[in-house]
């Protein structure tokens, strides 16, 4: 058993009368690649936002390396996180290179030239040419935006990466390429990753461990080989929706 990097204990969150997360327990081990699957509206993105401190839970706790992600700790922890948003969430008023190196824009650690070099290095890592650096997000295709989003997420060599629906809105070929790219990056950075998806191909490409989120709590979790072989009805339904 790998040592636990993120520990979620009895997490609950409601929006008005709707209870989105219900006493959710989950652990993510160091170096592990966890993929959380589930249908639309089951609370996957909400869970991710709670881990990142973008939403505050009603009860329960989230610990990162044994400490709570709140208050002064939050900024320190966030510097160790990298996040790819569903729609890439690139800053449309900035060129690609500035998006990638934005974390360091107001830091004295890097000069402008160094930031641009860093961005170009990360662009190469995600398979984009140097010429992309000066383009604006509106000038990029959906797949390129995802790649830039990945480059931004890995710009600070984070300890843990979060991917929210990395293949949504992409054609199957591009989705395959993005999955392959993420696979390579996970290996290259030896990072812990948490991916949220409802794309089974992403599960196969990225997961060490799979968790099924249903009605706000974890309905099933196990290793990838267990995911492939389990006859748990909800997981089976997810794998072969046409047979139900």
């Amino acid at each position: 058993m790998k040592s636990s990097l993120i520990n979620i204990d009895k997490l609950s969150l409601s929006f008005g009368n709707k209870r989105v997360l219900k006493d959710l327990d989950l652990q993510v081990g160091k170096g592990e690649s966890l993929v959380i699957i589930g249908g639309s509206g089951e609370g996957k993105s909400v869970l991710l936002k709670c881990i990142l401190g973008l939403l505050h839970q009603d009860s329960g706790s989230i610990n990162f390396m044994g400490a709570k992600i709140i208050g002064e700790n939050k900024q320190q922890f966030l510097s160790q996180f990298g996040m790819l948003f569903q729609g890439a969430a690139l800053f449309d008023s900035m060129p690609v290179w500035e998006n990638i190196s934005f974390r360091y824009k107001y830091s004295k650690m890097f000069t402008k030239t160094e930031r641009k070099d860093l961005a170009k290095e990360k662009l190469a890592l995600v398979g984009l040419s140097e010429n992309t650096a000066d383009l604006f997000p509106a000038e990029l295709s959906g797949g390129m935006q995802k790649r830039v989003g990945i480059a931004r997420a890995i710009a600070s060599n984070p300890k843990i990466l979060f991917f929210d629906e990395p293949t949504s809105g992409l054609d199957p070929r591009m989705a395959h390429n993005i999955n392959k790219l993420l696979q390579d990056i996970i290996i290259k950075l030896s990072a812990t990753t948490v991916t949220i998806t409802h794309d089974v191909s992403s599960v196969k490409a990225l997961a060490d461990k799979v968790a099924l989120l249903e009605s706000g709590s974890i309905a099933w979790q196990g290793k990838t080989n267990e995911f492939n072989s389990t006859d748990h009805p909800n997981v089976s339904q997810f794998k072969n929706p046409s047979s139900f």
Binding site: K49, L52, G53, L54, Q75, L78, S79, F81, G82, M83, F85, Q86, G87, A89, L90, F91, D92, F102, R103, Y106, R152
Partner: protein
């Protein structure tokens, strides 16, 4: 019937109080965020350019035509009691105390408040604000404080320039259309002006700047999802900032000219 009326009225006032409380807390958070470092000076200067400098044409044109129209109106009104000579003084006092800041404020509210709400609203809808947070940047400190500071600082300068252009509009109409002597028009303009006329207008302008940016940021930050939500946020920002400008103008006038 009475119960239904009370229910509707009560719900309306509770919602108004809730929104007001939320707005006050939001503004307090924005101001407090600017006290501690890091302060994004680059963003503040960029916003001064966008909010202040780029609003100059619209404020200048408004002031010029208002000054001209004011001169015509006062001349027509003054002629009823042989008071045509007050035109230069009244144009100057009217512009400095009231029309410069209020009309300038309303024009900037239309141009800037909606733009801020739409920009921040779109950033919220497309998760750019969440992205800022995950990059360890406080969105309020990065987006809200620079806009509020820029608008509060820019508005007095804008109004100052607007006042000068408005007085020039009055001069232009007075001399070319109403037959005033150029030198006496200029002398009469400054004869009755006091420093308080100028400072009161500038205090108002700074307050209106704060209101415009706060309402724009607040509406954008709390806009609901989708294009409709962003559109509604932009409309809310303009309407609410305009109403708040007019209301605060009355309150400030009461405070500043009590005697």
């Amino acid at each position: 019937m009475i119960i239904k009326f009370l229910l509707v009225t009560g719900t309306f006032f509770l919602s108004l109080l809730r929104s007001s409380g939320k707005l006050v807390l939001f503004c307090a958070r924005a101001v407090i965020s600017g006290v501690r470092p890091p302060i994004y000076y680059q963003e503040i200067f960029l916003q001064i350019y966008k909010i202040g400098y780029l609003s100059l044409p619209v404020v200048g044109l408004t002031a010029f035509f208002t000054g001209g129209a004011l001169a015509l109106q006062i001349y027509d009104g003054g002629s009823r009691f042989n008071g045509e000579n007050v035109v230069p003084s009244i144009v100057a006092i009217g512009m400095l105390r009231e029309l410069g800041p209020v009309l300038g404020g309303l024009m900037v509210a239309g141009r800037v408040s909606s733009a801020i709400a739409a920009e921040i609203g779109t950033m919220k809808v497309t998760e750019q604000i969440d992205a800022l947070s995950t990059l360890a940047i406080d969105p309020v400190r990065y987006l809200v404080f620079p806009r509020i500071t820029a608008a509060t600082v820019s508005m007095p300068f804008l109004v100052c320039i607007g006042n000068a252009i408005g007085i020039m509009g009055g001069y232009f109409v007075g001399v070319n259309r109403l037959g005033f002597n150029s030198t006496s028009y200029i002398l009469n303009t400054f004869e009755f002006l006091t420093i308080q006329d100028l400072t009161s207008g500038l205090i108002k302008a700074g307050t209106f700047g704060f209101v415009i940016a706060s309402m724009g940021c607040f509406s954008g930050f709390y806009s609901s999802k989708g294009a409709e939500g962003v559109g509604r946020a932009a409309t809310t920002a303009v309407v609410s900032s305009s109403i708040l400008i007019l209301a605060s103008n009355y309150l400030l006038t009461e405070l500043l000219f009590k005697s």
